[in-house]
């Protein structure tokens, strides 16, 4: 890639609105690594909630919006595995089903340039050590979209493993869904809560100070449960950990 081209940040609607610190950490991290970051202000939401809840046809304006915001970008990064999975695996099919093969073709050309943050760091920028420092005991919960959608494998763990002072603790049954599932969390709130309760128990059992992952949505659910049930475990997006530097305690 040309070192001059800025990396366009697709921050996602959730991070933009509720977790701006995740977007800020992504910017800080990439700039520290010597990259220029741009934020195409035309972006809004990828439409994942609509698509996964059966309102795929209604998501069409969001597909067009994504194309308008990022169509010209050479490289796009997002700190969300599930949003990247939506763009990559659902977009072209939705456009085709809506009878817009032109849009589908444009999106097909665009999606290979869209990367989840850990993916960008490890496969595109070929980095494992991003010179971060975070002296805490951290449990990594692999979100379903990162694990079975994007197939990130151990990329996040390798990145975390290279962080100074960070102690990775093994989360029991880590690959079991936390119970978020988008609108599932409210449509099937009781089942979602039962799944969450088991995830929280696993987090407590492993002695972590911090639970991290690659999706703010799952973290919002896990964090909401942790805050409700008390205790000292915090949630942080992996971008926040990777952006941390030695110095005053983060």
């Amino acid at each position: 890639m040309s070192p001059e081209a800025p990396i366009a940040l697709f921050v996602t609607c959730l991070n933009d609105t509720l977790f701006p610190r995740v977007g800020q950490a992504t910017v800080r991290l990439l700039e520290r690594l010597g990259h220029q970051v741009s934020f195409p202000a035309e972006q809004t939401c990828c439409g994942q909630m609509h698509v996964n809840s059966g309102y795929g046809a209604e998501a069409l304006p969001m597909l067009r919006r994504f194309l308008a915001a990022f169509g010209d970008q050479e490289l796009i990064v997002s700190p969300s595995a599930s949003c990247v999975a939506t763009v990559r695996s659902d977009y072209p099919a939705i456009a085709r089903e809506a009878g817009d093969p032109g849009l589908a073709a444009h999106l097909e050309a665009l999606t290979p340039r869209v990367f989840e943050l850990c993916e960008l760091l490890t496969t595109r920028l070929k980095l494992t050590d991003v010179s971060a420092s975070f002296p805490h005991r951290v449990a990594y919960h692999p979100t379903c979209h990162s694990l079975r959608g994007l197939e990130l494998g151990d990329a996040p763990l390798r990145l975390l493993g290279a962080v100074r002072g960070l102690e990775l603790v093994e989360l029991p049954e880590a690959e079991v869904c936390c119970g978020f599932g988008g609108t599932f969390a409210v449509k099937n709130a009781d089942t979602s809560a039962a799944m969450l309760a088991d995830k929280l128990a696993a987090l407590r059992a492993c002695g972590a100070e911090v639970c991290t992952t690659v999706d703010s949505s799952c973290l919002m659910h896990i964090g909401g449960g942790l805050s409700r049930t008390g205790g000292s475990i915090r949630t942080l997006h992996i971008a926040e950990i990777l952006a941390s530097e030695a110095g005053p305690a983060s």
Binding site: V11, N52, G54, C144, E175, F184
Partner: protein
């Protein structure tokens, strides 16, 4: 339309039962571990899955021709073939065969197809008693209960519950509480039935078009008894159970037991083709095959749904599903529980009456990962959700919210307005338990989770300031 309860409603009841959750958690964890071990030892597992998926896709693409070939082969071997468009028709056919032979009792081999059409209840109405011979089906039948798992119908019951049941119905002694003793009690009861009943009804795991053979895979030997001892055998087989060639079994007989019970090979694999000719040998003198549609051709016509017909009923998707593990099979209010049930029930019964099922999943994808024939259950659930939305089966408030949000997200300007409005509201709301009283999704969220803290500004506001400030 007053049909089954909605999934969230049925799930709430199941979640409140700690014994059920313990029974299920223990049983599914055991099967999961066993499956993982025997799958891991197959170096060509992914190739086997690909082959299984390809054979099923090929079968479905020419199902009409293959079914006719199958019919010819079964009849050549001395069997009689019946075609049933739905469950009512299939039940009538079986009852008529029983009446023709003056049978007031018949044996049952564990079969999903006959559960699907409610055969036992239908036969009872006709004055014919159906005796389940699979141990777990027997437990369920004695308890007047419903199966809660495709393969392990009594997975929701523990040993003590089973002992109580056998003591009441089969004369189990107080000390007969160990699994071996309980199995012996059932065996005493079942042997009597096997020796004195002249008709049996089975399902089919596979039907081989090329030879007319039927295959049933089982663990207990009760199926072998039923298919060899009685003079009259009736097999009720969903039309999707067909495979083209005998050789295809090489693939499926590896995929099925490893995925289902976590065994390299199941204890009993029975094949029969038509009727016995070398009297007095084993096997029925009279064989009837009932080919059941019951919604399957409708599923076949749906390009997004037809892969569900590839299902070989192994239950791997149930055992790995975090939703199934917590709520059990009864919450699905139908014969087919778990992820595949959430697809099959709306397909076979219509999405309007089962509209909550496609939403009974966090779309975590564990089912697809485990499926031996690679059925993309998560994608199908999403398509069925769209069908439910299209049929007007989702709440009006939800449809309006989604439409409003889609419009809002369609433009950066409107998005920003929504964002500011949302943040202003959020800052005024309590984040804790008090929010659980809020109506709608917000209250359902807050029953078990605090709301996130409202940030001082959005990312885009921060970015704008930073850019304008030259940062």
């Amino acid at each position: 339309m007053k049909g089954p309860r909605s999934f969230p409603e049925a799930a709430r009841e199941a979640l409140a039962d700690p014994t059920l959750r313990r029974n299920l958690g223990r049983a599914t964890a055991t099967i999961r571990a066993r499956r993982a071990a025997v799958v891991a030892e197959k170096g060509d597992w992914q190739a086997l899955r690909d082959a299984g998926a390809a054979i099923k896709a090929d079968t479905m693409s020419r199902l009409d021709d293959l079914l006719e070939q199958f019919e010819r082969q079964v009849e050549l071997a001395g069997g009689t073939v019946h075609w049933a468009v739905d469950g009512t028709e299939a039940c009538k056919i079986v009852a008529a065969i029983a009446r023709d032979h003056d049978c007031s009792r018949l044996l049952k081999v564990k079969s999903m197809a006959t559960d699907e059409i409610g055969l036992n209840a239908s036969l009872a109405e006709a004055g014919i008693e159906a005796i389940e011979t699979d141990l777990a089906e027997l437990i369920v039948q004695l308890a007047g209960d419903r199966p809660s798992h495709i393969l392990v119908p009594a997975i929701h019951r523990n040993r003590d519950e089973i002992h109580a049941l056998f003591a009441e119905h089969l004369g189990a002694k107080p000390e007969e509480t160990e699994p071996e003793a309980l199995a012996a009690v059932a065996r005493r009861h079942l042997r009597r039935q096997f020796m004195t009943t002249s008709m049996a009804v089975s399902g089919a795991n596979f039907g081989v078009a090329e030879t007319g053979a039927i295959c049933v895979v089982e663990s207990e030997g009760n199926g072998r008894m039923c298919t060899t001892l009685p003079d009259v055998l009736v097999t009720v087989m969903g039309i999707e159970k067909l495979i083209p060639r005998w050789q295809d079994l090489e693939v499926f007989l590896q995929l099925l037991p490893r995925s289902a019970t976590g065994e390299r090979m199941n204890p009993y694999t029975s094949f029969w083709t038509g009727v016995r000719t070398d009297l007095p040998g084993d096997g029925p003198r009279e064989f009837h095959l009932v080919l059941l549609d019951n919604g399957r051709t409708r599923a076949l016509a749906d390009p997004h749904g037809r892969d569900a017909l590839h299902c070989i009923r192994c239950s791997a998707c149930l055992n790995v599903c975090p939703v199934y593990e917590r709520v059990g099979g009864h919450a699905y209010e139908g014969v087919y529980p778990g992820p595949i049930g959430a697809v099959l029930a709306p397909q076979l019964e219509g999405v309007e009456s089962r509209s909550s099922l496609p939403f009974a999943s966090s779309l975590c994808g564990a089912c697809l990962e485990a499926c031996p024939v690679k059925i993309d259950i998560p994608s199908m659930l999403v398509h069925l959700r769209a069908a439910a939305v299209g049929a007007g089966a989702t709440p009006r408030s939800e449809r309006l919210t989604m439409a409003a949000l889609a419009r809002g997200f369609g433009s950066p300007r409107r998005f920003e307005i929504l964002q500011r409005f949302g943040a202003a509201v959020q800052r005024r709301l309590p984040r804790d338990r008090r929010m659980a009283r809020a109506p709608g999704p917000l209250g359902r969220w807050a029953r078990s989770r605090d709301l996130p803290e409202a940030p001082p500004e959005s990312f885009r506001a921060w970015w704008k300031k930073r850019r304008d400030g030259g940062g």
